[in-house]
């Protein structure tokens, strides 16, 4: 055989090997669940974004929560506030929350959990932040009533405190603990080791106040790249991965992996610049905004573009978080004929190239994508481009590679529509609408309100949500406000509700997918035998 033929044969064999290589089966033989004493799993997490020093230090807490430290209250996967370190809490007029702590709880170093510890490592820590954090803590806000009772009085009226302290930025550490290097909490797992950008290792806390964790050890490995994370699962390097992209779902399922998905906790939506200066002033006209909302076929978007890994919910607050009031937000029907009529009536007539015109001006809008990086939104902008062209609206897509450069376009008001993906990470349903669109208080983002604030009617509706002590009434107020901004003002044009998608070997059991992955719990997770 000649040399060329030998080399050719080797190349062909290599290609055949790639093509025919045994596919991973997800380790998924459907084994019986028999939790053993020594159970270890490896979790493929996203980027290592821990802050290691200062008042924001959050090792092992956020964004990857290893359940070392716990909060007073817990956010359930259905956005209910549940007891955790606080057994119960009550509102005491005019502006105080009293938390009754769980007795018999100890930190990993043996110190008892008491009101003094909560005051020092939660409320006084947050009080050091400018403005007292989102809970508005001041230096004298926390008062120890007795060993297991603490009063918290925000510096400004804030009746949403129990709904806010579910957020892991409000965990309780052991007094004297170093949250940036060796966090000590009360959680079901305790700190073992951390290698920056590589791994975080925790082990079971045998003295946990609740049910002991089934896993003896968890290693979190950081994979910033979603493809690398998926391949690590397929290669068997990890047992479960956080954050699977929609297009990978079918592939993982076909290879025998489980793909647990949470209830809707995030959304994809466009915000309309209604206060823009020329050339970004077209969307001051509500008729154009309404037409845009009606021209989008959200079902097709979900089924064909997002590959079924979303819902057509038209809300920026997860429906479950709004409880029984979710139906107040109706959204826009897909009605391109009505959209065309609205545009005709508003004076926008079809031009020679199909794009509408008015007084010689084209109806071409700039859609800015890049919140969290343009990549995560693709191919939604292209889809919107084609949908809106059907009714005579031209779209120029402007993509930015990261949030920082995207934000600079919001700051300068350079755009008509801004595509965002947001998530609900606590139970305070009014927080995001207030932050982004409310002009009646000091807590709003000036950059967002400058472009998107709908005005007095919205402010009037949402304002009382901050000072409404009853959670159900607060949900009702926020639902009314979202109805105003989505169904009436069309400033927010929701596109889809998004799940958190996870990937796991079939041997992983008891994993409860959470819509806010910073609130994931690991104590119920176990491995089937025969791993």
């Amino acid at each position: 055989m000649s040399y060329v033929r030998k080399v050719g044969l080797v190349l062909v064999l290599a290609m055949v090997a790639v093509a025919c290589g045994g596919g991973g089966d997800g380790d998924g033989g459907g084994q019986a669940a028999q939790p053993a004493a020594n159970q270890e799993i490896t979790v493929g997490a996203g980027d290592d974004q821990y802050v290691r020093e200062g008042s924001s230090a959050n090792l092992a807490v956020q964004p990857v929560n290893a359940n070392i430290a716990e909060t007073l209250t817990y956010l359930s996967p259905t956005y209910e506030v549940r007891p955790l370190l606080a057994e119960r809490w009550e509102f005491r007029a005019p502006n105080t929350w009293r938390f009754h702590l769980r007795p018999g709880v100890r930190f990993h170093d043996g110190q008892p959990l008491n009101a003094q510890a909560v005051k020092a490592t939660l409320f006084d820590r947050v009080a050091q932040q400018r403005g007292g954090g989102t809970i508005k803590a001041g230096p004298s806000s926390a008062v120890v009533v007795d060993d297991l009772t603490i009063d918290f009085t925000p510096t400004a009226p804030n009746y949403r405190v129990p709904e806010q302290v579910v957020h892991p930025s409000n965990v309780v550490y052991a007094p004297g603990s170093d949250p940036g290097n060796r966090p000590i909490g009360t959680g079901p797992f305790r700190f073992v080791e951390y290698q920056p950008k590589e791994r975080l290792v925790v082990e079971r806390n045998p003295d946990y106040w609740g049910d002991e964790a089934k896993l003896s050890r968890i290693t979190f490995r950081f994979y910033p790249d979603a493809n690398a994370r998926r391949l690590a699962l397929e290669a068997g390097d990890v047992d479960i991965i956080l954050g699977v992209s929609g297009p990978d779902v079918k592939g993982l399922k076909s290879r025998g992996f489980e793909v647990p998905t949470s209830p809707v906790g995030s959304y994809e939506a466009m915000y309309a610049n209604i206060h823009g200066a020329p050339p970004h002033d077209i969307l001051q006209d509500n008729a154009v905004r309404t037409a845009i909302s009606m021209a989008i076929d959200r079902r097709e978007l979900v089924e064909n573009v997002l590959e079924g890994q979303a819902t057509a919910d038209q809300t920026m607050i997860p429906p479950t978080a709004l409880g029984r009031h979710r139906s107040k937000i109706t959204g826009s029907p897909f009605d391109p004929a009505r959209a065309r009529t609205l545009l005709d009536n508003a004076g926008w007539r079809p031009g020679a190239d199909g794009i509408r015109e008015k007084n010689g001006r084209k109806l071409t809008l700039q859609l800015v994508s890049g919140f969290g990086g343009a990549e995560i939104h693709r191919p939604i902008p292209t889809y919107l481009q084609s949908q809106l062209r059907n009714v005579g609206i031209g779209i120029d897509v402007v993509e930015r590679p990261d949030s920082a450069s995207y934000q600079s376009l919001i700051d300068s008001g350079s755009g008509d529509l801004f595509l965002e993906r947001g998530s609900q990470n606590d139970a305070n349903v009014g927080f995001l609408p207030v932050l982004l669109f409310y002009t009646g208080g000091s807590g709003a983002s000036a950059q967002y309100t400058k472009l998107f604030a709908p005005g007095p009617r919205f402010d009037e509706i949402i304002g009382p949500s901050v000072t409404e002590p009853d959670a159900d009434k607060a949900q009702s107020i926020v639902a009314d406000a979202m109805h105003q901004i989505i169904d009436v003002d069309h400033v927010v044009i929701p596109l889809a509700g998004l799940f958190q998608i996870y990937g796991a070997k079939k041997t992983v059991q008891g994993f409860t997918p959470h819509p806010s992955f910073i609130s994931l719990r690991w104590d119920g997770v176990s491995l089937a035998s025969g791993r």
């Binding site: 045994g22 403005g131 932050l435």
Partner: protein, 313 residues
């Protein structure tokens, strides 16, 4: 020689100074507010005005660009590269740690590239236009043209996913070094093989090679002692260039293989607008290239006695 080396090292100072001004200026003029980015990342949503103000204070972003540069440069000359905006830890230890991990890949990758490139290039030159040469040229062209991320994913799918022979990514055990090193080595190996081939081909037609053959020297002696040795000068330049890129950090390969080296640190720093880390990495890369360039210049004299480094003659 000592004076020459001293002069080159002194020249490094204005070079790094110029680079620092450029880096600091460009990164600070890049769209995006690092305070907003930091605070929003912490909150997992757009930051509130209070959170942004707090972050601005914490990150030392108050004051004008010139004031901040003077403060940073003053600390940098004392070895203090500032505090990372992302982790809030000092930049220098982070940089040293990342450089260590990058070197763990770069040096073996450079050696592997040489081990592949030199024999391949020599064989290709000696068997010019014959089947072996044609195949090796096609392979080296493919190797040089293949995007590293694609090669990395191909190797992972084949060797990690399909056959479970090696880990897909991460730094855990000796076997985890194999895929990143091979991926990193193949592109420079292909380029260096082509360099070697043309350099050896050129020397094979020189008079001293003809003379060596006329004297009855064996083919191996002619190729290795006469042709290859004289071909080393241009090859060393190319090796130096490749090594500079490898040691400077391979962003794509380090990202795909989740390797906590300089390249990945740079990507993350840019995305987070972590100016102190960006400036630190640029200074590091500048220093690496300057040192490698100096070493290459010194090697010329070792390889070719006709070259006198630093001599005025």
């Amino acid at each position: 020689m000592k004076r020459y080396v001293g002069r080159r090292i002194l020249l490094l100072i204005p070079t790094l100074f110029g680079m620092s001004i450029l880096t600091f200026g460009v990164s600070n003029l890049t769209p995006g507010d690092p305070a907003f980015t930091f605070a929003s990342r912490l909150a997992n949503r757009p930051a509130t005005p209070d959170e942004v103000a707090q972050a601005r204070e914490d990150l030392g972003l108050e004051g004008g660009l010139v004031t901040r540069y003077v403060r940073w440069a003053g600390n940098a000359v004392q070895g203090d590269l500032g505090i990372s905006f992302s982790t809030r830890l000092p930049v220098r230890p982070e940089l040293v740690q990342a450089a260590k991990f990058t070197l763990q890949l770069a040096i073996p990758a450079a050696l592997l590239a040489l081990l592949i490139a030199v024999p391949t290039g020599v064989v290709s030159a000696v068997r010019r236009n014959r089947p072996a040469d044609q195949v090796l040229r096609v392979l080296s062209l493919a190797g040089a043209s293949m995007p590293s991320f694609w090669l990395a994913l191909l190797l992972v799918v084949l060797l990690a996913v399909n056959y479970s022979l090696l880990p897909a990514a991460g730094r855990a055990g000796t076997e985890s070094y194999v895929l990143p090193i091979v991926t990193l080595a193949l592109a420079p190996a292909a380029v260096l093989a082509r360099f070697t081939r043309s350099a050896v081909l050129e020397t094979l037609t020189t008079e001293y090679v003809v003379a060596a053959r006329a004297k009855g020297a064996g083919e191996a002696v002619v190729v290795v002692r006469h042709a290859l040795r004289n071909a080393l000068v241009p090859l060393v330049t190319a090796v130096g260039n490749s090594l500079g890129h490898l040691v400077g950090g391979a962003a794509v390969v380090e990202t795909v293989f989740v390797w906590p080296g300089i390249g990945r640190l740079m990507v993350e720093a840019i995305l987070q607008r972590d100016y102190p880390v960006i400036a630190g990495i640029v200074l590091y890369s500048g220093a690496v290239f300057a040192v490698i360039s100096l070493v290459v210049d010194l090697l010329y004299a070792v390889i070719d006695p006709r070259i006198r480094v630093g001599s005025d003659a």
